[in-house]
């Protein structure tokens, strides 16, 4: 219906300043929504990426979700047994060779085994409790980002063999020790060994920098007196989103608790959803306000054009034509505002991406705002804008179109 469109355009073009204000209202709404979405989404992506990068995607430990059935329970199925002490199980993942071979056959990604045990690190008279993690230097880099976080020494020094240890820089500071010094590690089994610090790492996660010490798997097995044992398999997948499925399969097969990163961080992911709801609510509110501007202008036009509506209806235009006309006017303002808003939003997001600042806590990481560039933000913002514009145009249009032409023609004569 070109004719209706022509008339609609003439109407809004004839009210330059008012139209401009309405268009700008929508544009500012759309622009800010886009900028906000880019920041929120960027922050979220950054956060999730850090989670995904630092954590294993699937973590298999030697725990079980429920206590293992005891032989007595199987033997006396119908009888309730009380005061039964669980049978002693050998700790660690049973038959690690078979488990890793099975994993290697199908896991779409990489994995590394490790043995984590608690111990105390001692240097002269100082002591710090630490998680002693025995790793396989050949596989560890595939699952842990720690390799890139060394401030002194390097991860590869561990691969050379011998009694070497990697510790966090904060832990070294607390012990009063440094690169190249020899520290003593006491395990929970009571064994004591000396290790030379061949690397200091700084991951930015305090718990790690302060409480983790990496040694060769063999050394950890000696310290805990569990030859060939492992108690953790960490898996990094090519596609982190497949983690729940993989965890499900490994848990079903191996019988050990397998936790996907999504499960481990459920509460955080939930908080992110809430954040998104808040964001869309605010976007909706902004658009509602812009919608009022449109309602105002369309409603003014319908009042002013009451006579034109009457005359067009008398010429043979339908009520539906009139409604469509004002609806089009609203949508036209909404669309113009959207396009302008895209430009505004794009420049704001671009501007924000240039902002650089220092994180004061460490004083060394120069960083910038996390920004997500997504076409979806633009689509959603303008969908909101055009939607509210359509409603804002439709409401006064419906009322105006219903007018009886005779009432207006008679009133004019």
């Amino acid at each position: 219906m070109r004719l209706i469109l022509d008339i609609a355009i003439t109407h809004i073009a004839g009210r330059g300043r008012q139209t401009l204000v309405a268009v700008l209202g929508v544009a500012v709404g759309v622009g800010f929504s886009i900028a906000m979405a880019a920041l929120m989404q960027g922050g979220q992506d950054d956060f999730v990426r850090q989670l995904v990068d630092t954590m294993p995607h699937v973590d298999i430990t030697d725990d079980q979700r429920t206590a293992r059935r005891q032989p007595a329970e199987d033997a006396f199925g119908a009888v309730a047994i009380s005061g039964l002490r669980p049978r002693d199980d050998r700790r660690g993942i049973i038959n690690p060779t078979a488990a890793t071979a099975w994993l290697a056959s199908w896991i779409p990604g990489r994995f590394a085994v490790s043995l984590k045990t608690q111990g105390v690190i001692r240097y002269s008279s100082r002591e710090v409790g630490a998680a002693i993690i025995g790793i396989d230097p050949g596989h560890e880099p595939g699952v842990s980002p720690i390799v890139e976080d060394f401030v002194q020494g390097s991860f590869n020094a561990l691969a050379a063999g011998g009694n070497n240890v990697l510790v966090g820089d904060t832990m070294a500071k607390r012990l009063g020790t440094g690169f190249g010094d020899t520290i003593t590690v006491v395990s929970s089994e009571g064994l004591t060994r000396s290790f030379k610090i061949v690397g200091l790492f700084h991951t930015g996660t305090t718990a790690r920098d302060e409480g983790e010490a990496y040694v060769l798997l063999k050394n950890a097995q000696i310290l805990s007196q569990r030859p060939n044992a492992i108690n953790e398999i960490r898996i990094k997948l090519n596609d982190p989103n497949r983690a729940p499925a993989v965890a499900h399969r490994t848990e079903a097969e191996l019988g050990y608790k397998s936790v996907a990163w999504q499960e481990a961080n459920e509460s955080i992911l939930q908080a992110l959803i809430i954040r998104n709801i808040i964001m869309y609510t605010v976007v909706g509110a902004i658009m509602l306000v812009a919608g009022f501007g449109i309602y105002n202008i369309i409603s003014t036009i319908t009042h002013e054009k009451a006579r034109d509506i009457a005359i067009m209806k008398s010429l043979g235009f339908l009520e539906a034509d009139m409604r469509r006309m004002f609806l089009l006017e609203g949508v036209a303002i909404g669309s113009a505002g959207s396009v302008l808003g895209w430009l505004l939003g794009f420049s704001m997001v671009y501007g924000l991406s240039l902002v650089r600042f220092e994180i004061a806590a460490t004083g060394q990481e120069m960083t910038h705002l996390p920004i997500a560039w997504s076409v979806l933000h633009y689509v959603i913002a303008s969908a909101f804008a055009i939607g509210s514009a359509a409603v804002a145009g439709y409401l006064p249009a419906r009322r105006a179109a219903r007018q009886n032409p005779v009432d207006i023609i008679r009133g004019a004569t």
Partner: protein, 223 residues
């Protein structure tokens, strides 16, 4: 000659708290190529009758047929379509769309009907306006035209879709005597030369006397 408009006991009552009768039991028939005046004192219901005949208003009683078709069972869509193709209106005030030029105003009913191609509409609008002496004012907007010129544009617009029936509501009511004479001559010409039927409401008895027939309305009834 055949009958174009036929009414039988046409009645229009406004449903107010105290019902107001605008038109009461009007029975008339108007033939093709007739030039008919509807006269009467102010408030007599002559305009209301015209609006009923023009399908702008719905009667509350009686029958109305236009071109042999009963209008009673028509829905809004059909009534609008009938107005568009069968009827042309000229009001006391020109009622042109102020943002559009004379030619565009004449094109609008044609574009709504959509029977002609765009270039043909453009052509026809120009011819219609030229035939009413407005050849030099085709691209002027209504506010650049005089009252008489605007009224002639309105007449041209009423002719846009070549309807057989033109309804005029005080077409000369707001014009000076010279322009009135011009517009009257045009309306007369529509009947005599172009074979249209013109029904005009007027309170100018001299003008009414020069038309073929005069229907006098008092208190909503034919007298």
């Amino acid at each position: 000659m055949s009958v174009l408009i036929k009414t039988e006991k046409l009645t229009r009552v406004l449903p107010e708290t105290i019902p107001v009768t605008l038109v009461k039991d009007v029975t008339l028939s108007i033939e093709e190529r007739e030039f008919v005046a509807i006269t009467g004192p102010s408030g007599s219901g002559k305009s209301s009758l015209l609006y009923l005949l023009g399908l702008l208003d719905r009667p509350t009683g009686g029958k109305l047929s236009i071109g042999g078709r009963d209008t009673d069972p028509m829905d809004e869509r059909e009534r609008a379509a009938t107005r568009l193709s069968m009827l042309g209106f000229v009001f006391q005030f020109h009622f042109l769309l102020p943002e559009f030029t004379a030619r565009e105003n004449v094109e609008i009913p044609m574009r709504k009907l959509g029977r002609l191609a765009r270039p043909a509409m453009y052509e026809r609008a120009g011819e219609l306006l030229a035939s009413l002496g407005l050849a030099e004012h085709l691209d002027k907007r209504p506010d650049q035209l005089s009252g008489g010129q605007r009224q002639r544009v309105a007449v041209a617009r009423s002719l846009a879709n070549d309807p057989p029936l033109i309804l005029a509501d005080e077409p000369t009511g707001s014009l000076d005597s010279k322009s009135s004479e011009q517009v009257f001559a045009i309306l007369e010409n529509l009947v005599r030369e172009r074979g249209k039927t013109v029904v005009a409401v007027t309170h100018d008895l001299d003008m009414a006397g020069r038309m073929d027939r005069r229907i006098h309305i008092v208190d909503g009834r034919i007298e």
